[in-house]
């Protein structure tokens, strides 16, 4: 298979775009396409400070690499979750993020959940009714809280995350299967900071397949954490991704079409704003100042208080 641009040997075929590319053209194509996505959804401009949330995985490090190559003013944020479970997962992830930043002379902010709150994510989840089997719910909540807080406190214009198309399509499928109107209404490439204490969030990789991001990381020589989080085995998101990948094999482009058609349908008024009842009833947490669905302290602050009592 030949590169459609230069005729050299192709290293990747994007069947959904009917486009095969060689290494050099592929490594140029992804940043160009990211720039187009940033502009299309008016995510940010070069004069703004961006905070990229990095986990040490392929997507977030590729995102940071691309934004840096495009000349954006971007720092990284790594959150140490304290996940070990015999695999040294968090330490290994942190090493990847640190090495990446050092090699490029970039600023990486590191926050350690255990150091900050006295318990890592697995221990935190054991002190709550949430996540008796897995700490994923507590992990997601803590990450959202910390990312928002640190981006807000640091005066960043936006928080950029490495969500790819497969992440978005799997989330969309899950929310559709369960008809969760609030989530369906809120899933966007850009989440506006429409409440006090909230920071603007953007997903510049939302139109790239997960396979494309892995190829970019490999071809760019980015060393990322290959092992999966030990708690990710059997998660719902992987289940939905596998289903979508089976469909993609039969019908190239089905994932991209599913996501983009949804965005278009929403833009055309498919979902009424009043479907998002949670958004209408948001309160401000008196402890951290972030938005919460119930009056009084948010779930994260209550969680932290519980750990300190234990």
């Amino acid at each position: 298979m030949k590169c459609r641009k230069c005729g050299a040997k192709a290293v990747i075929n994007m069947a959904h775009h009917k486009l095969a590319l060689c290494k050099a053209d592929y490594l140029n194509k992804l940043p160009e396409q990211t720039e187009r996505t940033i502009r299309k959804y008016r995510m940010f401009v070069r004069s703004e400070r961006i905070l990229a949330a990095v986990s040490g995985g392929k997507d977030s490090l590729a995102l940071w690499d691309i934004l840096w190559r495009l000349g954006y003013n971007v720092d990284g944020l790594y959150i140490g979750l304290g996940i070990d479970e015999g695999s040294d997962y968090s330490n290994a992830s942190q090493r990847c993020a640190v090495q990446f930043a050092e090699a490029r002379g970039l600023k990486l902010i590191i926050v350690d959940v255990e150091g900050e709150y006295g318990a890592g994510i697995p221990a935190m989840s054991r002190t709550t009714l949430r996540g008796h089997e897995k700490p994923c719910a507590v992990c997601g909540m803590a990450k959202r809280h910390l990312m928002n807080r640190l981006a807000h406190q640091g005066g960043y214009a936006v928080l950029a995350t490495g969500h790819n198309l497969d992440d978005e399509a799997a989330t969309l499928l899950s929310n559709t299967m369960n008809w969760i109107p609030g989530y369906l209404l809120r899933q966007n490439p850009v989440l506006e900071a429409d409440r006090p204490g909230m920071v603007r969030k953007v997903k510049p990789l939302c139109r790239f397949y997960e396979r494309e991001m892995a190829a970019y990381a490999l071809l760019q020589g980015i060393e990322y954490i290959y092992d999966e989080c030990p708690f990710a085995v059997g998660t719902k998101s992987i289940y939905y991704k596998e289903i979508l990948n089976k469909m993609e094999a039969d019908r190239p482009g089905v994932k991209l079409n599913f996501y983009l058609s949804y965005l278009m349908a929403k833009e055309n008024g498919l979902f009424a704003p009043q479907a998002d009842q949670e958004a209408e009833m948001l309160h401000t947490c008196p402890t951290c100042g972030q938005a919460t669905t119930n009056p009084g302290e948010c779930t994260f602050c209550r969680q932290v208080r519980r750990i300190r009592i234990v």
Partner: protein, 64 residues
């Protein structure tokens, strides 16, 4: 006249002379879920796999 596909701790031995796409289908591995590397080089799905080829498959699906 065989090739080997290696995915994490699993190995699949298959006949040579098939494309990567056909080999993955035979092994029951969705093409979308992996990248294939031969001697440090990324392969497209139409690449013909030759006798003795050892193909490292990199899983691309992450969750959580």
């Amino acid at each position: 006249m065989t090739i080997k596909l290696l995915l994490r701790d699993k190995a699949f031995e298959l006949k040579s002379g098939m494309t990567l796409r056909s080999s993955l289908e035979k092994a029951g591995i969705p093409l979308e879920s992996v990248l294939a590397i031969r001697a440090g080089e990324l392969l497209t799905e139409e690449e013909l796999l030759k006798d003795g080829d050892i193909i490292k498959l990199v899983s691309v699906v992450s969750g959580g």
